[in-house]
């Protein structure tokens, strides 16, 4: 069996290493598949559904599906782009996201995706949920109003024994990501920073570090999310 597989994305012939996740395989071919709950180096968990593509006629998440020979992938097609946009809107109306007052503005992936998808007013009614801010831990603030429940922190941040510091609580609409009362107190400076970096939105903020990078010099201040992949020089395999 060859190490490489051939497949198409929106008709473009692509090539990638067998078993690679679609999102990475697309990236190597200079094609950006929008993601939100996915994080490099962390086991994917297909939660946000934004990377949904149509593989051989079936909706699949690009972050969890390994690429296979002959796959016919639809990515940048009207109904799927519309689906992604509606998911971004859903995440906005589900929580309380006030970008101008948020420490993460400009570094926020949700905000950047909203710009990329030209979201104006969400089609869904705002839910205005009553959520709390957990500032009880010495190094971090867990801002539940902004949490999009992507599980990145849950999956990426563990203590030295592999124990979870962040976890889901409850289910359905009342699900939330909470911080372990004991381990949250022992969080090192390094892990706290990592947690903030892993969070795609402003739900995990290291105390007194929120505005270290000035507005205007932040990740998505000058170029839209995904443009780094689209402008990448492709090295042929």
């Amino acid at each position: 069996m060859s190490q490489f597989v051939r497949f198409t994305i929106d008709g473009t012939e692509c090539m990638a290493t067998r078993g690679q996740y679609l999102v990475d395989a697309a990236k190597e071919n200079g094609i950006y598949v929008p993601t939100l709950c996915n994080y490099p180096g962390v086991k994917p968990k297909g939660g946000c559904r934004i990377c949904t593509v149509r593989v051989n006629g079936k909706l699949m998440t690009a972050c969890t599906t390994p690429v296979a020979e002959g796959m016919n992938i639809e990515c940048d097609v009207k109904d799927i782009v519309e689906l992604r946009k509606s998911i971004i809107e859903l995440l906005f109306i589900e929580g309380n996201h006030f970008c101008p007052a948020c420490e993460k503005s400009g570094n926020c992936e949700l905000q950047a995706l909203a710009y990329r998808f030209r979201m104006l007013v969400p089609r869904f009614p705002y839910q205005f949920p009553l959520r709390k801010v957990d500032a009880s831990h010495p190094r971090i603030i867990k801002e539940q109003n902004r949490c999009i429940l992507c599980k990145r922190c849950i999956r990426a941040i563990k203590d030295e024994h592999g124990k979870s510091i962040f976890a889901y609580r409850r289910r359905s609409l009342s699900v939330e990501v909470v911080v372990d009362p004991k381990l949250g107190k022992q969080l090192t400076e390094e892990l706290a920073q990592k947690a903030m970096d892993v969070c795609p939105v402003g739900s995990i903020i290291v105390k007194e570090k929120g505005f270290i990078t000035p507005i205007g010099e932040r990740k998505y201040d000058n170029a839209p999310i995904g443009s780094d992949i689209e402008n990448m020089q492709i090295t042929t395999l």
Binding site: P44, G47, T61, K163, S164, F166, R171, S172, S174, D180
Partner: protein, 600 residues
């Protein structure tokens, strides 16, 4: 307190994959799971508190606050409501002086609601301290409250005669009735234990798989994947250990046939698991049963013990060297989504019942990351008959596409609710005749539970089968006087909201938005745009990870498709927009407090 917890932890060898069992035992010992015990469990299992907490807080039957010495769970399924649940609930509330989700101040009784408990043919029903109470009336509710206050034991609270068949046996002693209305080749009473096992000891595993493939039997849980193929994939998958799961989590509102099999034909089911184990090369079977059926535990354990004694389980089964198979029972703790096979596996590993991403499929990487077959109760029972009588015999029932028979759970507005075994290809019209319901009395039929479809009389000539109306077997008959949108569609949509695991953005958020639209229409504030929005927004759910999310809009979408006039009757014809927001109601309280008159 400490010693009791220690004992429970030791019972499961401090194995964190047995967290469900540990928590079930703690919940039953203390009536709830106190925080200090959560911390103790976490420390002993080498987990963080939030990791234990995320499992506890996921399941409906676990509680972190005291829920009373008597915990009453009233079923709030659509059929329970149709049969008068509201009156019963009101009586309980009045007699106890509490509302739903409250506990009496003396800590004696807690009153809660729960999703369908698999008793749709004998509603209204309730679970009190793991005992089932059926056919409740306001009178009966008063009696129960009186008995509780008098401190009667659970056994003494049962005033009716025990149900039929094994429900009367010493190890069950329940008022639940089987209501088997039609026997067929699977439920057939001439079953003799062990014949299939004896037969396969003379066959190779490949021959067993071939026979099952020949029968063309497809999974009976609803998805309809060919069973023989599933077994073959698992047999061919690499893994040092393989597992057979029986999915007895039947949570689809309106289905209860697995409960009847578990009561009347458990030996047949276990034999099916052994056959599957032999075919696949698995050495361990796990029967995952919903918590609602806890009352069957002792009975099922006794049957497993007997099977071990007679060497239908254990080592070198029936003298066949190397044919080893064991079965253990795993209870759930109240979560519909655990009926999804990968969520069920997660749950059996002690975690939240969140579906996994596929691929990989369980046959490659399932329980403990090992190749795993998950089969429905009915599928495993059917396989025993396939082995005994041959695949060709099995194919003589049903249609070309859908071979064999299907157990139907029929409830709602009909004379004879219960379990019927019919060959695939049976039409809805035949079903109505069979259950004693005139066509002029029926408004609609909900086929396949909330995740299925609601159909009207013009489709009653359709047949049950994978080629037409595929179903896991739940059929709810809806009489002429029912308000479909309120009694069924709203109830089902609330069910999906309650039962979402919450991990996909789509399934977590969209059903609530749909429900709000539906309520707006029911409140006569809807406009045509609301119907269009529901159709558009419902489609978003197709991008969800599992079947629950993908079908969560089905009650709304299928009723808009087949009963659109019910929506159109309720919307405002002269308006194109209505915010649905009632300003005068919203400011009523503050106006009262300040003595102002709303300026609207």
């Amino acid at each position: 307190m400490k010693t009791a917890v220690r004992k429970i932890l030791d019972k499961y060898s401090k194995d964190k994959t047995r967290l469900m069992d540990i928590l079930i035992d703690v919940q039953s010992e203390f009536g709830f799971i106190p925080r200090d015990i959560t911390v103790e469990i976490a420390d002993d299992l080498g987990m963080s508190e939030v990791d234990v907490d995320q499992t506890i807080s996921f399941y409906h039957f676990f509680s972190q606050k005291p829920r009373g010495r008597y915990q009453i769970f009233l079923n709030n399924s659509a059929v329970a409501n149709m049969m008068g649940q509201a009156e019963v609930a009101l009586t309980f509330m009045k007699e106890l002086g509490i509302k739903i989700n409250e506990v009496t101040p003396d800590g004696l009784v807690g009153l809660f609601e729960t999703s369908c408990i698999g008793m749709n043919d004998q509603e209204p029903a309730a679970i009190i301290n793991n005992h089932i109470f059926t056919k409740l009336t306001p009178f009966r509710a008063k009696e129960i409250v009186r008995d509780i206050k008098e401190g009667k034991s659970m056994d003494d609270m049962v005033v009716a005669d025990y149900g039929d068949g094994e429900n009367r046996s010493d190890l069950i002693k329940s008022v639940v009735t089987n209501n088997i209305r039609k026997l067929g080749p699977i439920l057939d009473r001439n079953y003799k234990v062990g014949q299939a096992i004896e037969k396969i000891t003379k066959m190779t595993p490949e021959q067993v798989i071939d026979e099952v493939k020949k029968s063309n039997i497809r999974g009976r849980g609803g998805a309809g994947f060919p069973t023989g193929l599933k077994w073959e994939f698992c047999r061919n998958a690499a893994g040092e250990k393989k597992y057979i799961f029986c999915n007895a989590d039947e949570g689809e509102p309106g289905t209860f046939k697995d409960r009847v099999i578990l009561t009347e034909r458990p030996r047949l089911l276990f034999e099916g698991m052994v056959v599957a184990g032999y075919a696949v090369g698995a050495t361990e079977g796990i029967l995952y049963i919903r918590h609602e059926y806890k009352y069957l535990q002792q009975y099922l354990e006794s049957i497993l013990a007997k099977a071990r004694e007679t060497n239908y389980l254990g080592k070198n089964i029936q003298g066949k060297k190397g044919f080893n198979f064991e079965i253990r029972i795993q209870f759930g703790a109240g979560a519909y989504v655990c009926g999804e096979e990968s969520a069920l596996i997660e749950s059996a590993e002690g975690k939240r019942g969140e579906p996994r991403d596929r691929p990989p499929f369980p046959v490659e990487k399932g329980y403990m990351d090992m190749p795993t077959v998950v089969n429905n109760v009915e599928t495993l029972c059917s396989v025993v008959k396939v082995i005994l009588n041959g695949g060709d015999w099995y194919k003589s029932f049903g249609t070309t596409e859908s071979t064999g028979t299907k157990l139907l759970s029929i409830s709602g507005d009909c004379k004879f609710p219960g379990v019927y075994e019919v060959a695939w290809g049976f039409s809805i019209n035949d079903i109505l005749d069979m259950v004693g319901t005139g066509k002029d009395e029926v408004q609609a039929i909900q086929v396949g539970g909330p995740s299925g479809a609601i159909i009207a009389a013009n489709e009653f000539n359709r047949i049950l089968g994978y080629e037409d109306l595929a179903t896991g077997g739940s059929l709810i008959i809806v009489g002429k006087n029912r308000e479909i949108l309120n009694d069924l569609v709203l109830n089902f949509t609330e069910f999906f909201i309650e039962e979402s695991c919450g991990s996909c953005s789509t399934c977590r958020i969209v059903p609530t938005l749909l429900k709000d639209k539906l309520v707006k229409i029911l409140n006569a504030r809807g406009v045509k745009q609301d119907i269009d929005d529901m159709v558009d927004w419902g489609r978003i759910l197709k991008a969800s990870r599992c079947g629950l999310g993908q079908t969560a809009a089905n009650p709304i979408l299928s009723s808009i498709k087949n009963f659109r006039h019910l929506y159109e009757e309720k919307i405002q014809k002269n308006k194109i927009f209505d915010s649905g927001f009632d300003l005068s109601a919203a400011v009523k309280e503050s106006c009262k407090a300040t003595g102002r008159i709303p300026n609207i």
